[in-house]
């Protein structure tokens, strides 16, 4: 006999707990039979587990609801407790802004209503409470429209309940539910259309989106379809119908009305910036759960009612959320949803929409990598082909895919392939070799191969592309160091070689950093000058640390001071980074790691890294390589990690101080009490209050006081560090945006010719059309001739005909947007300074738009 706990957890699954039956009715009866017996002994435990199940296995809510309905027939008191606890939890969710809890408990209530546990009118009261809060929020006068994200969320919750109980509500309280629907419609008419182009997966969305529905409008139309279809849908099991005859006898319980938290009031006239900041905050707190990514053509994907697609997405997202970290359960629930149709394509779209979600997915991208791997193993006949189809479809559209998404897709795909023997039909993509080196498809293939090599090794990846040997051209170099003072072979040996060998011997002889500094300052620098000295020292130390990541760290820890002494300011930092880049020019990974570690040891500043990233040779590869961007991403994220670590430390120190204060006060009180006792019986010491005990109280009080003081001191120190880190952060972003502004202003065509991305994309095509007319006898250089011959024959194989300069601008603008979006929370506090110093009147509209899109700031200048 299985335990009641397992029966609850496994209800509805194909599992040994339920033998051979897969009928929901059987499951409910079996489970109910056991629960009714156990209720006497373990009532509290059952109550807790049942509610946990409802919240964490929301795709099974209809089964739990029916179960509770049946229990209600025998044990009203227990079910009253279920309802009360649900009310408490829902109120708690509303107060703390726990979106999942609110949404799921509302579904649970709906199902309880279907099982006659609560009255339909109680549910309607919940709807109306949320509706009225939402309407107030978007009211310009009474509320604060910056918080529309919260209001939209409440309305989404109401609409999301209807697939589970729309039919019952319509049947039992038609007028009330009609009133709710009218209310929702009214809300939709006063709220603003949520146009968040900064979060679209595809760059061209912003120009096609006009007239497209936002998430809530879309859900509303799906619900209307559902209503027109007599509230019939396939994706929601309705087990209560099998027990209807019994359930009608159940007593409905009272549901104490809930209340929505006070809305964030604000002065009625918010500045644009203030509005943007609050809107940003609201969207962080009430994030949209999914942005749909339509990968597959309608002909390929499953043909489902819109509302069924919505419900399955809800199921999948809930499983992904609640079974994060439980691989087996996650995969088995994903593939075993309680629906009577297939949904592999929808599942793939949903997972990819999370993996690529902007500004970031709910979990690290590597989680979705794992889920996709597990689903490929769970459904070996079906899922791998769907994943491959998704990759092909995304690859087709990669030129328009957001830059951040491109990076994630590269990391995911290389990692995915590394888990499946690197098998991929590369020959399908061999044509990218005919595309110019800046074509996004070509760059994608090249970067995937780069990451594969990092996860594996060069020869292995070369073997994996045997079907398309030409792609070898896109493999990274074999990756050895570029040590200019190598004494192997017959290379000429200069004086510098000798210096390098001397340094090497000193390091091998375990000379102290101090000795080497002396040697450098006395014997090298005065004779050879800074440039040579820096080259010798940096190249040699890097070479000693070149064998592995650990060798590098060891050398930097031991001899970092030598470098620091030699490179004290930003100019020298920049030279140092350039030298690192030169030494590791054949190995992007080691170059990035070395620069990152140097920033970690504060041998180079983040500003120096920005300067290096914007050096001419790097600017030249902004559109053809991820390398400079990887280094920049590392630098920005390290700066950010410092801030967030300090914030965490400070908040825990504050807690330490509070408890230290309490301990100190308590010790002081004890001491005073002991002292007063002693003085009371002056001359006649009382037993137990001996001088030694008094001393102990005294030392304890002192110790506690000291602890409090030292905690305060470390808080002060951390506060100072945080202030410094925030300054560094501010300087970093200002410098970053200034650099972006300079390089883009130099290269973007005049705004009159390219005011939108679409115009920018077509400028090259236009100029080529002109060229072609005139070019009958014109000489063209190599690179261009290949491209031109293709455009001559119509278009390139995938219609890519964007010129180098235009693609450079598109890629760079894409990164501007990506950085702005990822660090929006850290940039917003400095927006005024940014506007004053960088986004001035003369700013190119495309640059301004990229920044504003990323920050999700309404662009009122466009």
């Amino acid at each position: 006999m299985s335990s009641w706990r397992d029966l609850l957890l496994r209800i509805g699954d194909k599992s040994p707990e339920y033998g051979t039956s897969s009928d929901f009715k059987d499951h409910i009866e079996t489970c109910f039979g056991v629960l009714r017996r156990e209720l006497e002994h373990s009532e509290d435990e059952i109550l807790n587990v049942l509610l946990d199940c409802a919240e964490q296995l929301p795709h099974k809510i209809p089964l739990f609801g029916t179960l509770i309905g049946l229990m209600n027939l025998e044990n009203e008191d227990f079910v009253r407790k279920v309802v009360e606890k649900t009310q408490t939890n829902l109120q708690d969710g509303l107060d703390s802004g726990n979106c999942n809890r609110i949404r799921i408990l509302m579904r649970f209530l709906t199902v309880l209503m279907c099982s006659k546990v609560i009255q339909p009118s109680s549910l309607v009261v919940v709807f109306e409470t949320l509706l009225s809060s939402a309407a107030t929020t978007v009211d310009e006068e009474k509320g604060n429209p910056s918080w529309q994200a919260c209001a939209d969320f409440y309305i989404t919750c109401i609409l999301s309940c209807l697939p589970w109980g729309g039919a019952e509500l319509m049947e039992q309280v038609p007028e009330e539910i009609e009133r709710v629907m009218v209310g929702v419609e009214a809300y939709l008419s006063i709220r603003r259309h949520a146009s968040d182009t900064g979060l679209s997966f595809f760059e061209d969305d912003d120009e096609t989106e006009n007239g497209e529905k936002d998430f809530l409008e879309d859900l509303w139309s799906r619900v209307q379809d559902l209503s027109n279809n007599g509230w019939k849908l396939d994706s929601v099991p309705r087990p209560h119908l099998s027990f209807e005859a019994q359930l009608v006898a159940g007593k409905s319980h009272e549901f104490v009305p809930i209340s929505c938290p006070e809305q964030h009031h604000s002065p009625s006239t918010l500045s644009v910036i203030n509005h943007g900041q609050q809107k940003h905050e609201a969207e962080l707190k009430y994030p949209q759960r999914i942005r749909r990514l339509n990968i597959f053509p309608a002909s390929k994907a499953e043909d489902l009612q819109p509302i069924d697609r919505f419900v399955v997405e809800e199921y999948l997202l809930d499983v992904l959320f609640f079974f994060n970290g439980s691989r087996k359960e996650c995969a088995s629930f994903m593939v075993g949803l309680p629906v009577p149709f297939r949904y592999e394509y929808l599942m793939a779209e949903t997972i990819f929409s999370q993996l690529l979600m902007l500004p970031q997915p709910p979990f690290k991208p590597i989680y979705y990598t794992l889920v996709i791997i597990d689903l490929c193993k769970a459904l070996p006949g079906a899922f791998p082909a769907v994943v491959a189809g998704a990759v092909r479809a995304l690859f087709e559209k990669i030129a328009d895919l957001d830059m951040e998404c491109q990076t994630r897709l590269i990391l995911w795909f290389s990692h995915h392939l590394s888990n499946f023997q690197f098998i991929w039909p590369w020959e399908e993509w061999a044509y990218v070799l005919d595309l110019p080196k800046w074509a996004p498809q070509r760059v994608f293939v090249q970067e995937v191969l780069e990451r594969e090599v990092r996860l594996s090794y060069w020869d292995k990846v070369k073997q994996s592309i045997e079907n398309a040997p030409g792609l070898e051209e896109l493999l990274p170099p074999k990756g050895g160091p570029n040590f200019i003072f190598s004494v192997e072979g017959d290379r000429e040996r200069t004086e510098q070689h000798a210096l390098s060998a001397d340094l090497c011997n000193m390091v091998k002889g375990r000379a102290a950093a101090r000795e080497i500094i002396t040697w450098v300052e006395e014997s090298v620098l005065p004779i050879h000058g800074l440039e040579v000295t820096l080259k010798v020292v940096v190249q040699t130390l890097l070479d000693i640390g070149s064998k592995s990541f650990t060798h590098l760290i060891t050398v930097l820890e031991r001899y970092g001071q030598v470098i620091a002494k030699l490179c004290p300011d930003q100019d020298k930092h920049a030279m140092l980074i350039a030298e690192v880049g030169y030494y590791w020019k054949n190995n992007a990974q080691m170059a990035a790691i070395a620069i990152d570690r140097m920033m970690g040891y504060r041998l180079v500043s983040n500003l120096a890294i920005v300067r290096w990233v914007f050096s001419p040779e790097n600017i030249d590869q902004f559109h053809t390589s991820d390398h400079p961007w990887e280094v920049l991403r590392n630098a920005v994220s390290k700066t950010y990690n410092r801030i967030s670590d300090l914030r965490k430390e400070i908040s825990s120190l504050k807690k330490v101080i509070i408890s230290a204060e309490e301990a100190a006060t308590k010790a002081k009180v004890e001491l005073e009490a002991a002292e007063s006792k002693l003085s009371l019986v002056d001359g006649e010491p009382v037993v137990g209050e001996t001088p030694s005990k008094l001393t102990r109280f005294k030392s304890n009080a002192e110790k506690k006081k000291e602890e409090e003081v030292s905690a305060r001191e470390s808080l002060e120190a951390k506060d100072a560090l945080l202030a410094r880190a925030l300054d560094e952060n501010k300087a970093l972003f200002l410098s970053l945006y200034k650099n972006f502004s300079i390089v883009l202003t130099e290269r973007l065509p005049d705004p009159s010719r390219a005011g939108t991305l679409r115009e920018l994309k077509s400028t090259h095509a236009d100029s080529m059309a002109v060229d072609l007319e005139e070019s009958a006898a014109m000489e063209v250089d190599n690179e261009n001739s290949r491209q031109k011959s293709q455009s001559n024959g119509g278009r390139t194989s995938n219609g890519y005909n964007i010129g180098e300069k235009e693609q450079w601008c598109l890629s760079t603008l894409g990164y501007v947007k990506a950085f702005s979006r990822q660090y929006a929370s850290e940039i917003w506090p400095h927006i005024e300074k940014l506007e004053a110093e960088v986004l001035t009147e003369n700013t190119h509209p495309l640059f301004r738009k990229a920044v504003y899109c990323g920050l999700r700031r309404p662009n009122n200048q466009a």
Partner: protein, 251 residues
């Protein structure tokens, strides 16, 4: 999350017997640890491969490769230290059981690295699990040490003519053969002269053992193309360290 199906008290299936404190101390150490133990690695996997994979869970502070205590070469495990606990948790959640270098690796919380823990605890210098296993694992030096010694003893009794243990066919899953070497199995093609891990010359230099596919042998000297010179001849197991590696007890 997912508290319904996981026993939150079970942090790790094994207990390091060299941990000096109580079980409670051990668990506390695991709960706070920012260090993960990575097992079942190929001997040829480099720190940079580990870095690339694990940095997808978060910023890495340090990597410590497990080394054979006799040869000072990697012996199939390592420790990865993160800066944050959350990232270490994600490494355990998301990387354990996935493939690195064609092998399913496992990732567990570790109570914290201490000097000395980088050495293999097996009799022969590597990990204990490589003493006793009986399969042929090209990514981990071929057969287990015990089997290797036995084969060596047999070889001395009977002359197989080849003068090399190359005459013992490795036990390889058949599907790899079908691919004609194009989708190689971990370790089979490993010590290629052009590999990036060539940088690790002085640490990997001894590992000349090699099973070579046709197209590779073209560029590689005669001497190397014979499937032998195996680390299995390296030493005779006179180590006095007889301690258990508790890791082998993991389930």
């Amino acid at each position: 999350m997912a508290s319904l199906f996981k026993d939150p008290t079970k942090l790790s299936a094994y207990r390091d017997r060299r941990f000096s404190g109580s079980q409670e101390d051990f668990e506390r150490a695991l709960l706070a640890s920012i260090t993960v133990y990575v097992g079942n690695m190929s001997f040829y996997t480099t720190e940079e491969q580990v870095y690339e994979l694990f940095s997808r869970a978060g910023e890495i502070k340090k990597i410590i490769m497990g080394l054979d205590k006799n040869t000072k070469t990697p012996c199939g495990f390592c420790f990865v230290l993160f800066y944050s606990r959350e990232d270490a948790e994600d490494a355990v959640k998301y990387i354990s059981g996935t493939i690195l270098d064609d092998r399913p690796i496992r990732v567990d919380f570790d109570w914290g690295f201490q000097e000395g823990r980088q050495w293999g605890r097996g009799r022969s210098g590597g990990q204990v699990r490589d003493e006793y296993r009986t399969d042929y694992d090209p990514g981990r030096g071929g057969y287990g040490k015990l089997v290797q010694r036995e084969l060596e003893a047999q070889r001395q009794l009977v002359d197989y003519g080849a003068g090399s243990l190359g005459s013992f066919p490795p036990v390889m899953p058949p599907q790899y053969g079908r691919h004609g070497g194009s989708h190689g199995h971990g370790g089979s093609y490993r010590r290629d002269y052009h590999r990036k891990r060539h940088r690790d010359d002085d640490r990997h230099g001894h590992e000349t053992s090699k099973r070579i596919s046709d197209h590779e042998s073209r560029r590689i000297s005669d001497h190397d193309s014979r499937p032998e010179k195996n680390p299995r001849f390296r030493e005779s197991g006179d180590s006095d360290d007889d301690e258990e590696d508790d890791r082998k007890r993991r389930s």
